[in-house]
């Protein structure tokens, strides 16, 4: 992850300090469960949601 962040830092010219990189990497670590939760869902047969179905159920 740190190598990837350093690459982004060079590409975008952020000039991040070591402390800033550590903070961002901490956020990356903290967010890992979000991705794990989503990846654990069986989404076979589900197309990505693009917009609300305007023909949704009405009584």
């Amino acid at each position: 992850m740190k190598t990837w962040l350093q690459k982004l830092d060079r590409e975008y010219g952020f000039q991040l300090t070591e402390a800033e990189m550590d903070r961002i990497l901490n956020e990356v670590t903290a967010a890992e469960p979000l991705f794990e939760q989503l990846n654990a869902v069986d989404v076979r047969g589900k197309t990505p949601f693009v917009r609300l179905d305007v023909k949704g159920p009405k009584k």
Binding site: M1, W4, Q37, L38, P48, F49, R51, V54, G56
Partner: protein, 482 residues
């Protein structure tokens, strides 16, 4: 008109008086401008006050009405606009340093529609930086303060809009809601905030990067539900300039206000929302449910199996979409973001591309689960759960709700967003209406959610509740300020 009368004025009442000639738009505008001059130094609801143009607009409105050219119920009504909606020739900052000097050469569609309806624009309201946060503690334009307690935030990101309405510094405001940014500040300021169905109101002219493409909505903040319906009427509808706007026909949004609601059924999602109520909020929400039941509504617990994933879906989808909008400025003006927001965007640049699509597929599951739920009920009711924190609590990340310590953030985002983001994920219309006050005197919101494009039912239920509960009659005390 006295200040006390101004504090209690609604669009519904004032429009009738304006139409009959009893109330002058020029005098009304002057009264609001005087009140803004007295209060804005303390509340900081406005970033730009348009005193001269507002007076000029009011004179034109008055002449038009006198000559029989009454345009709409909003003719001569003083309102405000959040500072991320383009307004021709007027600063439109998005709450950012980067756009501090931008004066658009066009109006957002909503602004153009409101001008055509004859409103008086009093000014642009303060907001969270790039609309990406819920406090309206803005490092460049200052902190907006909550009219109920100036030591507290008004919520956000449309915090200036909510504070301006609550403090009677305008009769209505237009905000934007990508994660709860209309409903949360409305709840924290004790007013009404509506996020319509996704696509119901054009988002053309919204500052890019102040709301994710697939979760953002323009919304309405007012003192009463009826006023909310009157404003929605003027701004709803398809817009060819916004490819994401909906072609579904509009409704007469005030038509069902005042009607009985006893034939309707409300769904509850206790498995999700029970964990989000702290301090007296649980009692306040329970009392609101009892009030709805007294009005004849039946309630039913609903099962939304993937509900707990709604915040994760929102975080992944919205941050990925937003960082795309910010790419240019991240490459050219990265240090003109607040550090917190810069780090958040850099983190989003590291999201795996596949995770965005996975989140959108989980989003489909959620949408289907809500579609099934709405076959059983007419509306869903929830709390808008976190009352306004103190300003210094936002820095510490922990607030006190009636003696209970509540963390304001976790990996899913802000705690207050947890109540509202599910309906940014699904796009359903949702309103917040005041349902009581905490022990510290802070307002709490009741969220009423409807089927797609059934804003009329949402407004009908909200209006009946509002009238029966009567919380809207309570006003913040601002007489000693300024």
């Amino acid at each position: 008109m006295t200040e006390s009368e101004l504090e209690n004025l609604t669009i519904a009442e004032s429009s009738e008086r304006i139409k009959s000639g009893e109330l002058s738009p020029v005098e009304l505008t002057d009264l609001f401008l005087q009140r803004i001059a007295r209060l804005n130094r303390s509340v900081n609801a406005y970033t730009t006050v348009l005193a001269d143009s507002a007076r000029a607009e009011a004179k034109v409105a008055e002449q038009e009405i006198r000559s029989g050219n009454y345009r709409s119920v909003l003719h001569g009504i003083p309102i405000s606009i959040k500072d991320n909606l383009a307004t021709i020739g007027v600063p439109t900052t998005g709450g950012s340093k980067i756009l501090a000097d931008w004066k658009p050469d066009f109006d957002a569609t909503v602004v153009a529609k409101l001008k055509a309806a004859g409103v008086i624009t009093l000014g642009k309201t303060n907001m969270h930086e790039w609309a990406l946060g819920g406090t309206t503690i803005n490092p460049f334009f200052g902190t907006t303060r909550n009219p109920w307690d100036l030591a507290r935030v008004p919520g956000g990101s449309s915090g200036g809009s909510a504070a301006a309405v609550a403090a009677a510094m305008c009769l209505a405001s237009i905000g934007t809601d990508s994660a709860g940014s209309v409903r949360n500040p409305a709840a924290m300021c004790g007013i009404v905030g509506l996020k319509p169905t996704y696509g119901r109101v054009s988002c053309f002219g919204g500052v890019p990067g102040t709301g994710a493409y697939s979760t953002n909505h323009f919304g309405v903040l007012t003192r009463t539900v009826k006023d909310c319906a009157l404003v929605l009427q003027e701004i709803a509808g398809y817009d060819p300039k916004d490819p994401l706007s909906a072609a579904e026909p509009t409704d007469v949004y005030s038509a069902k206000i005042g009607r009985e609601i006893g034939y309707l059924k409300a769904g509850l999602i206790g498995s999700y929302y029970d964990k989000l109520m702290f301090g007296k909020v649980e009692q306040i929400f329970a009392a609101a449910l009892r009030q709805l039941e007294l009005l004849g509504i039946k309630t039913e617990q609903l099962s939304i199996p993937h509900m707990d994933l709604a915040p994760a879906v929102h975080t992944v989808v919205s941050r990925a979409e937003l960082v795309s909008d910010h790419d240019h400025y991240l490459r050219t003006r990265a240090r003109d973001y607040s550090p917190e927001l810069l780090y958040r965007h850099i983190h989003a640049l590291m999201f795996p591309a596949g995770s965005y699509v996975t989140a959108q597929r989980v989003r489909r599951l959620l949408a289907e689960e809500f579609e099934r739920a709405f076959e059983r009920v007419d509306v869903i009711v929830t709390p808008v759960s976190i009352p306004a924190p103190k300003i210094e609590e936002c820095g510490r990340g922990v607030t006190d709700v009636d003696g209970e310590k509540v963390s304001l953030r976790d990996a899913r985002g802000s705690t207050w967003g947890l109540s509202t983001v599910p309906f940014n994920v699904t796009g359903h219309p949702a309103i917040s209406v005041c349902c009581g006050f905490t022990g510290a005197g802070q307002p709490v919101g009741l969220q009423i959610v409807g089927r797609p494009f059934e804003e009329s039912t949402v407004l009908q239920v909200a209006a009946r509740y509002e009238e029966a509960a009567g919380w809207y009659r309570r006003k913040p005390q601002l007489s000693g300020i300024g």
